[in-house]
Symmetry: D3
Subunit: 69 residues, 6 copies
């Protein structure tokens, strides 16, 4: 399976909060970078997400802004 999304960043889940509709997934990425995703709680359960699990963050290039200076 190939996905057009240009950004796939490996990470390990360090925190998971499953809310009524949305879930917050905190991951430790390369170099200790913290990544935070918000996905549906259904998806978090379906994918069996839990602290310690190795996952990837998938991000479409058009969703990334750039900060300079």
């Amino acid at each position: 399976m190939q996905i057009s999304g240009r950004n796939k960043i490996p990470g390990k889940i360090t925190e998971l909060v499953v809310g009524d509709v949305m879930a917050k997934v905190v991951m430790e990425g390369p170099g200790g970078t913290e990544l935070v995703a918000v996905i549906t709680s259904d998806a978090a359960k379906e994918l069996g997400l839990a602290v310690g699990k190795e996952v990837q963050a998938l991000i479409k290039a058009t969703e990334i802004m750039v900060i300079a200076g």
Copy 2:
């Protein structure tokens, strides 16, 4: 200045393609992770983006999907 976006990832620009309306910005992030952003060409010019420049990728948490397995 504080920004609500949860993800700010440092990177160095390794490639820049400025198109008619949109521009592709390729960055090398922590641990050698490749990040690709698509922003407006106006923004690329205004921010003076160029290969070698240190920037940050800014990503809203709701824009990040998670891949498991």
Copy 3:
């Protein structure tokens, strides 16, 4: 600090609802325009958002649709 996002709209917070994972931020923008953002509750707390606070809405150009007629 320069941000590639093309849209920065000033506004004053008129309503704030901090939920389990997400928070709704209602702002009064120029000309009385109502703006509604949904950000993470963590961000709302970290930025010290509260009714009456002057902020800016930051929006990537690719996230804006146009309605005609």
Copy 4:
């Protein structure tokens, strides 16, 4: 027709650049606020967009970040 998107901002088109795939639409919104949307060139043509045309910017609440300070 009702749309779930929370943000509908009136504006007049002040600039339009139609590229190979994407088009940049610059609008003057309330209080002289500049709004920039990037939509498909097909949409720009289909909607008959042109400088001077009154339109609305439609933005989903989840696409808006907040800047404080």
Copy 5:
């Protein structure tokens, strides 16, 4: 009213969960395809969404990734 968003998919609501800030709207689209939208709970109430209601899913082209293989 014409909207620049390229994707308008008809569907009937099969499930609705209205949370503290966000609401999940599950729809059955053409050919039995399941569509899931997350909108603000305010929008869900304002539009009078309920199971059985015929609606459309509106999606900007830049928000769609492609999977091959």
Copy 6:
């Protein structure tokens, strides 16, 4: 591989326009529904997209608005 994105819609490519930075991918989905995605031209080439190819449209639930009436 499991992806948190809630919407995966099968489709066959009916049109492909590869621009300087972005590419337009038109697909025929279930029931003849037309789907239009805009991805990077790099991704279109990498995935070997071409008219007639069977693919899936991947859409995060938070990117879908709902239209009623």
